[in-house]
Amino acid sequence: MAEFFHMGGYGLYVWGSFGVTALFMIAEPLLLRSRSQQIKKRIARVARLEQEVNQ
């Protein structure tokens, strides 16, 4: 197991590359999801407010 993470002496470089790539490719969809939810909430809020004003 330790040998696997050691990567024949290239551990830092191999995991530094795969790790950061994984981090970005997991973070991007998560950030996007929270952004979409915020947009939907904002549109619903504005629609509700306008309805109240019109009543």
Binding site: Y10, G16, V20, E28, S36, I39
Partner: protein, 249 residues
């Protein structure tokens, strides 16, 4: 019009494309997860150790797919920008807008993983080599496009101005691609060649192609999800968006 032909302009309406984008995104997510899982397994357990670079070469399995995607996404964006300029369709510009952050991310990852590969193999994190410099310019083109778009208040004017920036920047893509041929600097030549035999072991090549297809599916999934967010944001005063949002809460 004969019904045998698909009316492509039907899908250029954001309202019709919105539900379709969700379907494409879901399918691509599944494909991406499966391909990247197989690709990662092969990267570490199937692909053999390189005779010259030992285990360090395994960086290739993220470096090359990320670099290819960074160039390919740019070309796709430029294609959408051109379509948007010619047909004046809102959705084309939205597609370019939705792809930009993912393309910028891959350009950054290409530079980052290249740096982590260069350090052990060449002894330096960074060098102003032709390929690396032109890839850095690609990253700046992505950032410049996003900055220009968001700096112009009128979205349609922003679409046109940034579309022209994208089209001018296309000149950089062949420069990146051929840089290793035109200038004989530190970055190695390509191992995948169109017209001659590849200088690569078969399972290594296969792993790289699977990872590339996985990154491809990932890009489609994320950009389709993002174009939905962009559509909602930009069409927020349209009736169908209002009804959709009210139905949800």
């Amino acid at each position: 019009m004969s019904s045998r032909f698909i009316n492509w302009f039907k899908f250029s309406s954001p309202a019709t494309f919105y539900p379709l984008a969700r379907k494409i995104s879901v399918v691509s997510t599944v494909v991406a997860v499966v391909l990247i899982a197989i690709g990662l397994y092969m990267s570490f357990f199937v692909a053999p150790t390189d005779y010259k670079q030992g285990e360090g070469y395994r960086i290739i399995f993220v470096h090359v797919p990320a670099s290819w995607m960074s160039m390919f996404i740019y070309l796709v964006m430029a294609g959408w920008a051109a379509l948007g300029l010619v047909f004046n369709t809102r959705l084309s510009a939205m597609m370019a807008q939705a792809l930009a952050p993912t393309g910028a991310m891959f350009a950054f990852l290409s530079l980052w993983t290249g740096s982590f590969w260069g350090k052990p193999m060449w002894g330096t994190w960074w060098v102003w080599d032709a390929r690396i410099t032109s890839e850095l310019i690609l990253l700046f083109l992505y950032l410049g496009y996003m900055a220009l778009r968001s700096a112009i208040d009128d979205p349609r004017r922003g679409d046109r101005a940034s579309a022209i920036l994208l089209l001018v920047g296309v000149v950089n893509v062949p420069i990146i691609y051929y840089s290793v041929k035109w200038w004989n600097t530190l970055h190695q030549g390509s191992t995948i060649r169109m017209n001659q035999e590849t200088t690569m072991e078969e399972t290594m090549l296969l792993t790289m192609l699977i990872m590339t297809l996985g990154f491809w599916a990932y890009s489609i999934a994320v950009s389709m999800a993002r174009v939905r967010a962009v559509i909602l944001e930009r069409e927020r005063s349209a009736n169908w968006v209002r009804e959709l949002a009210e139905g949800r809460t």
